[in-house]
Each structure stands twice: as C-alpha cells, then as structure tokens.
C-alpha cells in the first residue's frame, strides 16, 4: 500500500518536473536567450602574484607601506577604511611615534551629546580611520574588506585599477567588438568603461592615471602598475591582517596533527595486529 502511494507521489513530482523541463526546453528552442554584454565582454581578473599568496605567504612590509601611501594620497579622498585602526599600522613596520604622527593628521569626528554638536579631534593611535564624506555621485565602498568581498580578491582590485579602456573599438578575446554588437550600450555620461567591473561601466574615474602620481620614499618607480599592485597588497592586509600569523600558526598545527595521525595509525595497526577484519 505504502509503495503504491509512494509511486503516485513520485509520479506527481516527476511529471511536474517533466512539465517544467518541456516548457523550458521549448522556450530555449523557440526563443533562446541571447548572451548579455556582460557575459560576452566582462573580463576575468588578471594574474597577480603577491608575497601574501599561498600557504607560506607573508606580507612584504615595504610594499604595504607603499600601498598605504597610495591609499592615503589617492583612495582616501573617497574611500573609507573604517575597520582599520591606526594602531594596526604598527604591523606595517611603523614605530609608535610614526603611528602617532600618521594618526594625528586625521580628524576624528565625535558627537557631543551635551551640545548636540559634532566636534573633531586629532586622531590617536587607538582611533579607527575616520568616515569619508563623499559629495559626488555613486557610493564609494569602504575598502577595509574589499579584497575579501569581491571574487578574485586582490587580483580583482589590481585588474580594476589597471583595466580602464577606451570603449570605442573594444574587443573581447573572440574578436567581437562591443559597440558593434551592442550599439545601445555606450557608456553613459559620468561613468567609465572598465571590462573588469561587473556591468562594464563604473562610476569611479581612473584613480591612478599617470606614472609618478605618488612619490615613493624607498625609490621604487611609481608606475600605474606598481601603484596598483602596492595598493592591492595593502588592501589584502586591511582585509586579513591576521594572514601572516594564520599561516605561521597553521604549519606547526598541521605538522603536529600529521605526526599525531601517524602515531595513532601505528597504534591502531598494533592493536589490530592479530585481529582479522
């Protein structure tokens, strides 16, 4: 009895699925969905090799300091970094006095409940990076977690920064020209064409546009590629400040467990030595 009932229920679901499948297949044949511009022209992030990659990855502090400089001088105009505190910068190799000096340049807004005013004070090491007031169009995201919050991580950030292109004449790998295939999709006024951005048009103007936009203290040549790479490395650190410690802790833990597994396996073999199974 239960089996007859079960077969009936089974038929109910399978016939309903066949119905959906048949309708879907019919629609696919009669009216196949055309590939969208994003599917055809969106590019996957470029390869980017950083010192923090892989299970042995550690931070290149000098690169992080350069990246921090790019953030301060370029990105910080629009993007906040609210999850990072100035005290965290010590991990980049700055000493206490340097951290205090960096913090002091910032103004931290504080709401005064007695007067209802928002006052500000010079930043201290304990303060987080302040919010950034942005008056323009669009909403620049906070960058603290950006390399964890986007597919491709640091490679995505690097590709986006170096990936601005002329839309006119832009072709994908297959050689299709975007504006010939989709003549209506000209980048609107105020947006900027970037094939690494999800919908190809991004509100952010190219932030790193010319070599030498920042002057590195360590003599590294500040090409657009170099600055993009450095700031991407810096943003890996802001998103995962624990990364180096995590890798360094991981190895002893995993190797200890490997050792323990081998010992436990041997004692298992020993205990079972005369037992067939």
């Amino acid at each position: 009895m239960i089996r007859i009932f079960s077969i009936l229920v089974g038929l109910f679901f399978t016939v309903a699925l066949l119905w959906s499948f048949g309708n879907g297949a019919y629609n696919q044949i009669t009216d196949p969905a055309a590939a969208s511009a994003e599917e055809l022209f969106h590019k996957h992030p470029k390869e980017l090799a950083l010192a923090s990659d892989g299970p042995f990855g550690n931070f290149d502090r000098q690169q992080l300091q350069r990246g921090f400089q790019v953030y301060q001088e370029v990105c910080a105009a629009c993007h906040s970094l609210k999850l990072v505190a100035y005290r965290d910068l010590k991990q980049l190799g700055y000493n206490d006095d340097e951290v205090k000096a960096i913090a002091a340049k910032a103004q931290i807004p504080v709401y005064d409940p007695h007067t209802g005013e928002v006052k500000s004070h010079a930043g201290l090491a304990k303060d987080n990076f302040p919010p950034v007031v942005y008056g323009g169009q669009g909403s620049p995201p906070d960058l603290s977690l950006i390399t964890k919050a986007r597919h491709g991580g640091a490679s995505y950030v690097y590709s986006l920064l170096t990936g601005y292109a002329e839309q006119a004449g832009f072709k994908n790998e297959k050689g299709d020209e975007l504006l010939k295939k989709f003549p209506d999709l000209k980048t609107p006024e105020g947006l900027h064409f970037n094939p690494y951005f999800a919908n190809l048009n991004i509100a952010m103007p190219p932030p790193l546009s010319s070599d030498g936009q920042v002057t590195y203290g360590d003599g590294t040549k500040a090409t657009v590629g170099q600055m993009s790479k450095d700031v991407s490395a810096f943003l890996v650190w802001t998103a995962e400040p624990e990364l180096a410690k995590r890798h360094q802790t991981g190895w002893p833990v995993v190797l200890f467990l490997l050792f323990a597994t081998i010992l436990a396996y041997l004692s298992y073999r020993n205990i079972w030595a005369d037992k067939k199974h």
């Binding site: 239960i2 089996r3 079960s6 077969i7 229920v9 089974g10 038929l11 679901f13 399978t14 016939v15 309903a16 699925l17 066949l18 119905w19 959906s20 499948f21 309708n23 879907g24 297949a25 696919q28 969905a33 299970p55 999850l83 965290d88 995201p141 603290s144 977690l145 964890k148 919050a149 986007r150 597919h151 991580g153 999800a198 998103a239 400040p241 624990e242 995590r246 890798h247 802790t249 991981g250 190895w251 833990v253 995993v254 467990l257 490997l258 323990a260 597994t261 436990a264 396996y265 004692s267 298992y268 205990i271 079972w272 005369d274 037992k275 067939k276 199974h277």
Partner: protein
Amino acid sequence: MSFPWANEYKPSHPFMQWMDSRLPLPRFVYNAVGAGYPVPRNINYWWNFGFLALICLGLQIVTGIVLAMHYAANAGIAFDSVEHIMRDVNWGWLMRYAHGNGASAFFVVIYIHIFRGFYFGSYKPPREMVWLLGVAIFLLMMATAFMGYVLPWGQMSFWGAKVITGLFGAIPLVGEPIQQWLLGGFAPDNAALNRFFSLHYLLPFVIVAVVVLHIWALHIPGSTNPTGVEVKTESDTLPFFPYFIAKDGWAALAFLMIYCAVVFFAPNMLGHPDNYIPANSMSTPALIVPEWYFWPFYAILRSFTFDFFFIPAKLMGVLAMFGSILVWFFLPWLDKSPVRSGNYRPLFRKFFWFGLIPSVLLLGYCGGSHAAEPYLMLSQIGSFYYFAHFLIILPIISSIERPDPLPFSITESVLGHDGNAALGAAA
C-alpha cells in the same frame, strides 16, 4: 546491553565500586563507548563518520560558545562585531574561521554518513528508529546552519534569510502572515536577527539531545556492517575499546589535519565574497546562493519553473524541497528488500552509483549557479532522477531484484568457510 557476550563492567578500585552502586555513570560509559560494547569486526572506514560527526558537533559548540561571548546580535552592529572578533579579539579569527569551516566539515561528514546509510541499508529493520532520529538531526542541522549564516549580517546573510523565509510565503492563504510572523517584520531586520541568534544557540543543544537518542537507539541492535548480515556469535564482534577507539581515533586526527589545513590556509574557500559586504536591503546581489551544503536542495527548489495545473511553480518548488528530505523518513518502508547491504544488491548498486550519486552531484553543481539555462534544465533532470529514485525505483527494485548470495556470518565473510574455528580461538 546488546549482546550476551559483552564484557561486564567490574570496578576494581573501591571508589569506583562505591560510585557504581550509587550512580553507575562509569558503567554507562563503559557499555556505550568502552569495552562493554561489541561492534561488528568487519565495519570499514565508511563507519568512521558517525564518530567524526560527533567531533564536529563538539567543535561547533565550543567555538560557537566563545564566539557568542563577543558577538552582538543587533542589526546595527552585528557585521562590525564579527569584524571586531576577527581583528581585536585574541585568536578571534581562529574561532570564527574554525566555526564557519566547521559547519562545512560537519556537512561533509554528515553527507558521507547519510550516504553510507543509503548504500548499506542502515535504515532497515531493526534500525528504523536510528534512521528516523538521524534524519531529524539532519533537519535540525540545516535549520541551525541556515540561522548561523544569517548572523554575520552580510549581504548573503540578509538575502538568504529573505529568500528562505520567503519560502513560507508560498503556502496558500496563510503564507504571508506566517512569513511575517517568522521574521517579526516585513523583511529581515533586528527582530529576525535576534531570534535567529537565540535559536542558533538553542538548537545545537537540541541536536545533542537527539544525538543521545540516536546513539541509544543504535546500541539496542548494534551497528550494521558491510555484509548487512546480523551479528550471530562473539567471533563476529570486537569490543569498542580498544579496537574501535583506535580506529576512530586515528581517522579523527587525519580528519582534523585536513580541517585545520582549510582553516589556516584557505578559510574563505567555501564562503561567498558577498557576505563580506554589510547587509543592504536596497541592493540585491547578482546571485543569491546559500552555502554549498544546501546547493542540491536549492537546485530542487528552483527546478520547478512552470505552474503545474493549479499549483504555482513556487509552491511546487517548496513542496519538492521539503519533500526531498521528508522522503528519507519513509525510506525504511519504501525499500523492502530483505538484503541490507548494497554489496549484495547488483541492481540497487547500479542505481546508487550511476543514478543517485550523479544526480545529487549535478543538483549540487546547479544549485550554486545562476538560475538560468542550461542550469535549470540540468537541475530538472537531477530532480527528476532524485524523486524517481526514492519514490519509484527503490520500491520497484526491492521487489524484482535478485540479490547475490550472502555470507553465512560476519566471521565467515572475514575468514572464509574454514575460518570459524581459528577466529573463535583468536578472539
């Protein structure tokens, strides 16, 4: 006490004797996971996953309690409180990565445990209660994992909560009031976050209670084994301690090693980047997907794309998704083959390896992809087979199949025909 030849607990120390006559807790442990519990000697490594699941449950509870000490279940600050754990709490990042990846590890283990049961017929008499309680644990795990994923209050948390509670909205007439009642509002917000946190803390302890029942029910008939032949004599079994503690122990350490490698070297591998974007009700992610362990069920939900007679497609999807797990409850009565183990069921085995496993993997693949062709048609094929397997194929093959000859006993299967005496002497 499962078998007459099980070792009896005989405390030698006066204190343990004193204890045993007042609160026989050591005796209880001895009979449950000690030398007093005889286990079929031929169980293979697929039988390790129950023990591993217990380890996962313990890990999740311990890391979860620590995380709850630092987490703030308030929609305004939940996201930042998780980042506070990641950045400012000593070893907070380890606790959180261990907990998030611990959920994934738990599901890996539990899926292998469940499919072990499917293949070796662990749901068959006299173990129906073990099976039913196990399915109940799985449902509780799903609810717990879903609510846990909402707590970081990222984009995927918010939109996942919206989609899943929206499923209740598919119920005719009362759906929408039920949805609002569950959420405590029209959309997920502070009320929903708080109750999810409360339930996420409660349900693991309910799971612990059902696990106790699950193991209790298991210990009445004892474990099944790869031959599916019941234990007959003492030579078929070995005591749990030290034999199976040793076997489970080394496997547990190997499992922990792989788990730790993920936690320390690729902690975000299984997560979705969008959940590092704070929840925003005004911005819908391009792709709303649950965590990987829900993908097969999510694919079943989405594979109903057209209304079926008077039943709306969405309701069909919801019925099918819940039905896809509820059908497991009926499994002992759908598959009536007297032979338990798939090793002796040639027809069943073919449908298991070439039907059920590929269809579930296909559903998993589709569930993580966009709800567009070809994924919809592929998930329709996967769902079609899934329902056909449990509701049509299993009942039919259990009556038409001709099983292979079974060994006379576990001992015989281990030693061959002449081995009985030799093994009896050794044991």
